[in-house]
Amino acid sequence: MKTDPLHAQVIAVLQAIAPEVEGEDLVPDEPLRRQVDLDSMDWLNFLIGLHRAFQVDIPESDYARLVTLDDVADYLRKKTGQGPTRSE
């Protein structure tokens, strides 16, 4: 399976909210919230984390498109042009 370089960065943001998450345990094309126990506050904080790390705005109307790790990576790629701005 090819690894998406964006995944690691997205997982790092997720781990700030759910420290118990192990990146290698996540299935990239399965819904994140089925794999990680995230309530709506956690999810919002996850999106805020992405917003800060990737400098993208994520309108609420786009929330429904962000389901799996692959979805999130694709979305960020589209939003940022080519790839992520390497934060810090």
Binding site: P19, D39, S40, M41, L44, I48, H51, D57, P59, E60
Partner: protein, 364 residues
Amino acid sequence: MIDFTLPALGADMTEGKLLEWKVKPGDTVRRGQVVALVDTSKAAVDVEIWQDGTVAQLLVRPGETVPVGTPMARLLAPGELPAVRRRVSPAARQRAATLGIALESIAGSGPEGAVTLEDVERAAAAAAPAATAASVPVVTGAGKVTDMRAVIGAAMSRSKREIPHYYLGESVPMRRAQEWLEAFNAGRPLPERLLMAVLPIKAVALALRKFPELNGFYRNGAFEAGKGIHVGVAIALRQGGLVAPALHDAADKPLAVIMQELSDLVQRARSASLRSSELADATVTVTNLGDQGVESVFGVIYPPQVALVGLGRVSLRPWAEEGGVRAVPVMQATLSADHRVSDGHRGALFLNEVRERLQHPETL
């Protein structure tokens, strides 16, 4: 002289272990200031002091476990002077300084009430019960979870044993609330957006103004109405267990402030850095299990509170309205309440009030 006693940080707490003093004799303290870090079986809690004053003497040492109500420190009230200028023998003064005891708190037995070395030693012995725990044992993560399970079990057993619960449920149409929330969030950057969860919290708080018998405590055989509307919000902890810290004066706060405070409470609950007032003050509890995908929750009241509101998932349901049927987002709101204080009639009116409030989200 005022005794500062170990407060009960929740109905289920019987004792606490002092981890650390944040003040020392001679310090001026203000109401609400954090003075100590105390380990309950649930979390390490910043304990606030409830009066202004000056710390005269610390009575409990870090590492000691003491029952709720134990005097932990003595304070001089504002304006209260250390009686008169005390006569103190130089040896006594030096010893008191070494031991960290305020001379004002020591009764003198020497000539003209002078404090002697012996008086200091006696006061020190009284203040420091046998245990001289120098180091604070570290509680492992797993031990903490087991302790918390036991504490929750004790509180919930007490609730089921003592509180004659009654339960009511109501379907609340959420279309207006959803539309309002979408419009509100549309123009705002992520960090300023609201979660749906804050709307029902505010609606419950506002409704409680009209139903004071659901907001407060049942203690010593009688109901005490809450002095404010402090909504305890049940927060699941990642390692298991839950806490329900208070969102103070929720009825008086704009939604944006409630959102900010809720976010802050969740974060601090999970990093175990709640304040004592947050753990002890809640006058009612709201539990929201909609995120976990259930339609309704009938909760167990957290004693000595007298009511708990349960919120389920907002989901599309067929809804008969104005002679037709349409798909409408609906949320189940439930009430568990204490029959010693209220009855189903008032409970039903309360739930109706919550439902009506949510039909006018712009007024929340």
